[in-house]
Symmetry: D3
Subunit: 115 residues, 6 copies
């Protein structure tokens, strides 16, 4: 795995484990709902991951963008599909979104560099 991708995932896992070990009921359930919300239903997993990606971009959360980019990559979505999603986020969210777009491109490159 690329160094950047590994580092992001290691930190994420380590801190999630700490948070969940704390047993706060509300937080635990929110974490669990995440799995539910992105499971196949009336919409397939690919579409849902793109929904997560665009929502993360317009809310300008770099870590959330990375997380959904990685799921998109693992689900086999093409770069073109991902970029079109990001372009909608850029239009809706405005130029304020551009610094996050730069980081998204950088992380996608790191994901592709893994193979």
């Amino acid at each position: 795995m690329s160094e950047v991708v590994k580092e992001f995932n290691d930190y994420r896992t380590k801190m999630n484990n700490k948070i969940l070990a704390d047993n706060n009921k509300v937080i635990k359930r929110i974490f669990n709902l995440d799995t539910n919300a992105f499971a196949a239903g009336a919409l397939d997993v690919k579409t849902k991951e793109l929904l997560g990606l665009v929502a993360s971009l317009v809310l300008r959360c770099d870590d959330c963008v990375k997380y959904h980019l990685e799921s998109c990559y693992n689900e086999g979505l093409s770069k073109e599909q991902v970029i079109e999603t990001l372009s909608i986020g850029n239009l809706i969210g405005g130029t304020i979104v551009i610094p996050h777009l730069r980081k998204a491109y950088e992380y996608w490159d790191a994901l592709e560099a893994q193979s």
Copy 2:
């Protein structure tokens, strides 16, 4: 057309016409980009409308939600697909999104009441 839907669209059209008549180049191009961004490409129109919907919900813009709900409805997306999209927005955006969820449900009902 339902009264609520008609009123929303009439105001939207009237004001858009005023804005575009003003010939500010930047604003006009942003308006034009909207058509481009939501046209079929690597992703189909249905998926793109759902992307617009979830982005509008997490950014808590009632009028944007209504606009994309209407496009979703006209594109033939099912209520189940729309609700799953809204549920992802609710989870990502939190309970602060709930008042906008209420209005989204209300507008969807108005769209269905048209037929």
Copy 3:
């Protein structure tokens, strides 16, 4: 009950019922978590309602502010305690929060006018 308060609650209840009747699992669980999160625990209910109030104000959600103002009122919090909470929200959130502060004051008056 004051007309303003009744109208707000009636709409809220009607739409919540519609949303919950839809049986979307993710949305239903988020609604349920609300009860959990604001129940007495390491912090008492009064403190938690003030936390909900200040979070709603800085996120500039009028309906959320009204909802927590009403809970604060019913829990017996004094106007002074509520105003100090709103003042912290105003300082943290800036003058952009002031229009929501106006509506908060108006709704608090409606709550007091009930008795």
Copy 4:
């Protein structure tokens, strides 16, 4: 004065008076700082009002936009200057800003209709 403009200002004044009558020190000082911040200094009043306008638009606060539009109008800024300011806000803030742009145009018309 146009009905729309009068109504906006009357509500604003009535509620501001209520808030200030309450004598919360933090809120009162924030209100006072507003006068200070927009007074002539290294930048003139016109420039400062445009700064207030663009900040209000990207933060999507309709009442704040109205307030600064009115100050811009009273300071003698031209419609072209105001629209260029709004166009920068639209580009930075994205299409999510458009519903607020519609209301801004509507209020500017109401301001011009006064004369």
Copy 5:
């Protein structure tokens, strides 16, 4: 003091001094209001610090979260009380808040590691 905590505070102090040395009246008064707003009044200091914490979390400001976590720690609030506050912020602000929750846990650990 833990390295992480010291580094955060040193940077904060250094830059605050630079900003205040500049003598901009509006900025100086905003800084001063902070002390006022969090002083004991109708609400005690502990409650106010929790209000500052939850507002910082839902607005997703890592440095503001750290600052209020440190005040909470110094005021003797328990980890349970802090976590319940964060859980309310997580529910209101949604999963977009989770990356900031991770950093909050990490900083709390650094604060506890000081003793």
Copy 6:
């Protein structure tokens, strides 16, 4: 050029080139609009850069603040004019803006250290 300024610009240029090489029509046009929006018109370039700066600050985008600070510096705006703009952003956006104010001051110092 100061190390900090050079690093920021190099990363910005490298990633912008990657993004634009991708030829996504919507993103490319948004990037192009940026040049248009900040060109002299009814308002001069200096005023427009200050508008970009205050919008970036209240939206709490550090990279956008840096970008506009640099343009302000290159356009010959004085530190006093820049600080007054930041003070308006601080008042409108609240204390949540302060961490970004610290970084703005730091970057301005780096810009001045270049000469």
